[in-house]
């Protein structure tokens, strides 16, 4: 499984336009880390963004695209600061930590 995280918008929108996505390939991970990633992915997929009706009024909020490639057609999750589920945040943070450590 390979997961990637792209960040968009906010006051640093211009900076984010030119940044490549952060990528983690599970093949390179220890088993425990790989299992943890798989769990976080399933939890994030199962928990949609909140249906806050104010979300379309959010301004300068950042959004995040997590792409999960696991042999099947990729699954793409897109959530924003105004709507993120805790499970999505957990996956996002995990990718940031493990992509940065490489």
């Amino acid at each position: 499984m390979k997961v990637s995280l792209a960040t968009h918008g906010g006051h640093l929108a211009g900076y984010h336009l030119s940044r490549p996505a952060q990528i983690v390939n599970a093949k390179s991970l220890p088993k425990d880390a790989g299992d943890e990633l798989a769990r976080l992915v399933e939890e994030a997929k199962a928990t949609p963004a909140s249906g806050d009706t104010r979300s379309d009024l959010a301004r300068d909020a950042m959004s995040y695209t997590i792409t999960i490639e696991n042999g099947d057609p990729p699954v793409v999750l897109v959530q924003s600061d105004a709507t993120m589920s805790p499970e999505f945040v957990a996956l996002r943070n995990w990718i940031r930590t493990h992509a940065a450590s490489k």
Binding site: G14, L17, S55, A58, R59, T65, D81
Partner: protein
């Protein structure tokens, strides 16, 4: 509401005028328009209509123009007073009371604890106190400069959350309150450190309750620009800086010392706010010929709303510099009135035309203010399409195009007089309708 009066040729700076004591005093015939002065005097003084009519028919062009300016200003002020009287008994405002919450680096509001309230003591947390002060400064700016009672002009409470998320290099408005990150400590520090960023976010609320500019493509870039304009004005107002003295930078205080960057954005020089190996180069354009065509997607920043805002930002900066003095006076009022006259799909051209019309309406056709607006938009690649005669109030009238050189002066004055009569009729109808609605509401309540 304080209305900055038009600049007299002999005045060195625009001075705010309190409407409650406004009057226009005109010198005897024979003196040029340039020698006329405007003073704040007694509350009930005004030019008798018969004398004003006589001056409108004067053979002296300068006298006629000055009388016309008086008529325009008086009609608008009468309209404002009538409207205020109609809304006088609206619900008592909450006056923008502030509450700051601490999110403890979570994204869930359920994790938040109240950190400071309007009447509470200062916090031991500097971020809390900065947010509190920034909200207050912005609130006072809108009240003092535009007579606006909080973001919705009805005293809406102001709430902010600090310590949002972890390593969060951003601040945002969520439609009801604002949230600040602490920065990652590498690129950025705490976003509460910049009062212009705080005011930028709150101004998204003002836009939400006025024009409601769609957050995509040009209307979205305009939305962003409006927030930068009034964010910068709040900073300038709090420091009592003139347009020349201001730095016109957004977010100068949030960069870490290690980053070679001036600010998030520069209104004076879009594209030059930062240029470093870490951040790359500021991508903002300063002219329509460099407009960034980006997709209306999350990845495309909704058509580049944070990118193309550089164009109207530069237009405001140029307008302010050319008028001179305090930018929150004439330039700020032109932009504020234009914001209120705009709608969700207003684009750059529409807004430019409206600012030109509003400058003429507020400060007189052909004045320094209108010429500054015209030149500013031209310099960023937008030619104002409304001619010098078009002074529509509210949404601009599409398709009206008048070449100034071809309009005879008598026709121009007649057209303006008709427009003023139309305005007065419309205002009377509006007041009557509001009074009727209020009466119906009282009957229902009883």
């Amino acid at each position: 509401m304080r209305i900055p009066m038009p600049r007299s040729r002999s005045a060195s700076r625009l001075m705010p005028v309190n409407v409650k004591h406004a009057t226009t005093e005109m010198r005897p015939a024979g003196l040029s328009r340039h020698q006329l002065t405007r003073q704040c005097r007694c509350a009930n003084c005004f030019m008798p209509p018969h004398l004003l009519q006589k001056l409108l028919e004067s053979k002296d062009k300068d006298i006629r123009e000055a009388a016309l300016n008086t008529l325009l200003s008086s009609s608008r002020l009468r309209g404002e007073r009538m409207a205020r009287a109609a809304f006088f008994s609206a619900a008592a405002p909450a006056n923008g009371r502030r509450t700051i919450f601490d999110l403890h680096n979570s994204t869930r509001l359920s994790s938040a604890t109240a950190a400071r309230t309007e009447d509470g003591s200062p916090s031991g947390d500097d971020a809390v106190n900065r947010a509190f002060e920034g909200l207050g400064t912005t609130r006072e700016f809108y009240r003092e400069v535009f007579d606006r009672n909080s973001l919705d002009d009805k005293g809406m409470r102001l709430e902010a959350y600090v310590h949002y998320d972890t390593d969060y290099d951003n601040a945002f408005w969520d439609g009801r309150e604002m949230k600040f990150g602490d920065g990652d400590g590498v690129l950025f520090t705490d976003f509460t450190k910049s009062v212009d960023v705080i005011a930028h976010e709150l101004t998204h609320g003002v836009t939400q309750f006025t024009a409601g500019l769609d957050y995509r493509n040009q209307s979205g870039a305009l939305n962003e620009s409006i927030s930068d304009v009034f964010g910068s004005l709040v900073k300038q107002w709090s420091r009592k800086q003139t347009a020349e003295e201001a730095d016109w930078l957004i977010g100068t205080e949030i960069f870490t010392p290690e980053i070679a960057g001036d600010a998030l954005r520069s209104m004076k020089a879009p594209g030059q706010a930062y240029n470093s190996d870490v951040l790359g180069k500021d991508p903002q354009p300063d002219n329509m010929n460099r407009y960034a065509q980006l997709p209306d997607t999350d990845a495309g920043d909704h058509g580049g709303v944070h990118i193309n805002s550089g164009i109207p930002n530069k237009a405001f900066y140029l307008t302010a510099i050319r008028i001179g003095g305090y930018a929150w006076e004439a330039p700020g009022h032109i932009w504020y009135e234009s914001l209120k006259a705009s709608n969700p799909t207003t684009e750059f051209q529409d807004f430019a035309d409206t600012t030109y019309a509003k400058a003429g309406e507020l400060y007189g056709p052909g004045g320094i203010e209108q010429q500054a607006v015209l030149g500013a938009w031209r310099e960023v690649g937008i030619r104002v399409s409304a001619g010098p005669v078009a002074v529509a109030v509210g949404a601009r009238r599409p398709g009206v195009r008048v070449a100034a050189s071809s309009v005879q002066e008598a026709d121009r004055l007649a057209a303006l007089t008709r427009q003023i009569d139309d305005l007065s009729t419309q205002m009377k109808a509006l007041v009557k309708e509001v009074s009727g609605l209020k009466a119906a509401s009282r009957r229902q309540a009883a």
